[in-house]
Amino acid sequence: MSSRNVLHAIGLIVATPMLALAQTEAVDPGATGPAWSPYLVGVLIGVLSMFTFYFSAKPLGASTAFANVAGLIGRLIAPRHTDSLHFYADKKASKIDWQVALVIGVIVGAFLAAWSGGEITGRWLPPMWAERFGESVWLRMAVGFLGGGLMAFGARMAGGCTSGHGISGAMQLSVGSWIALLGFFVGGIATAMLLFYA
């Protein structure tokens, strides 16, 4: 089966009903909740996982792509030092691969979804953040950057993120994934409660 046929088949099965649904739904730009039923979205992500396993032999995961791009940048700036690091000794850890392509696709897909539903935000501060921590964009950026850094370190240590462990690993009944998922929520709930209620 050629990749062209594969794309057509998947397109017909998955994308068409999604776009049809997108056009028929009621548009509410002020909505802060999900546009579609979260159960339906979950079911479709489960089906999507079956497709990525079958056609690409890959589980859905997002965090690895950022490590790959960081490795690529590291190799541009300090090639010898980057090569000397244990994690980047495996050249596959710093390549434009399936995972990087997936993450690029996610940006486009989320844009299409928000655009079709009239939910493009186009803002630097989430209102809920501004209400609690003020209007400083730099404060939000600094906290976001720190949060991103900790997430990446933790995800690489644990072996995956909310997608790789929380969805893909959990559905394969991996014990380590369920432990990591518990850690995500324990750490996340404690931190968010401290930020918003302390």
Binding site: T32, F66, L150
Partner: protein
């Protein structure tokens, strides 16, 4: 113990008759295509929104749990069915009690600060939440910092409770065709309980 565990045959023994295309360009194209669908679904599921994600961590909004659990139920049944039919291999990362726990909690602290996780942060950028740019840059920086520590971590934390590929069916000594329906039933009941008693929207 860890040695014994890794010597056990991994359930990836089935060959894949219609294996994935080896062509790199085709796989990059497929990856991008699957990404578009994944991002589309994440945004429609509301999990690209700051309020929904932080609402989860403040235990006020259970959209994230509903999406994740539904995905796990369907994906688990589907992938174990495909695996039993010899159509796909499993892709299971090693269980390392120390690294899974510490890394998981560290990730959680970052998740609480950022509100976006790697996948939903990428989707958040796509829907126009520009503060996600800082999170994504942080993800790259944190990955490189991790790489700096990776040699040391491989010699220390990664060895604490390293059990190799370990799945729940093996721990409980049940066949997947018994365990998968049980786990699916439990997760559906949990979802139903959340829907009925905690967060009935929508």
């Amino acid at each position: 113990m860890a040695q014994d565990e890794t010597k056990n045959p991994i359930r990836n023994e089935h060959p894949q008759p219609n294996g994935p295309p080896e062509n790199r360009a085709a796989q990059l194209g497929l990856g991008c295509f699957f990404g578009v669908i994944f991002g589309f679904l994440l945004q429609k599921g509301g999990v690209a929104k700051y309020e929904v994600l932080i609402g989860m961590l403040l235990l006020e909004d259970f959209t994230v749990v509903k999406v994740m659990m539904s995905a796990v139920v369907v994906g688990m049944i589907g992938i174990y069915a495909l695996h039993t039919a010899g159509l796909v291999k499993l892709h299971i990362k090693p269980t390392r009690y120390g690294a899974n726990t510490l890394g998981g909690i560290l990730f959680g602290i970052g998740f609480g600060l950022a509100a976006y996780c790697p996948g939903t942060g990428t989707a958040a950028l796509g829907q126009g939440n520009f503060d996600a740019i800082a999170v994504l840059l942080g993800l790259m920086a944190g990955s490189y910092v991790f790489a700096e520590a990776s040699g040391w971590l491989a010699r220390t934390v990664n060895r604490w409770g390293d059990r190799g590929v370990l799945t729940l069916d093996r721990v409980l000594n049940l066949k997947p065709r018994v365990l998968v329906p049980v786990v699916a039933t439990v997760l559906v009941l949990v979802l139903a309980a959340i829907h009925l008693f905690v967060d009935p929207t929508p």
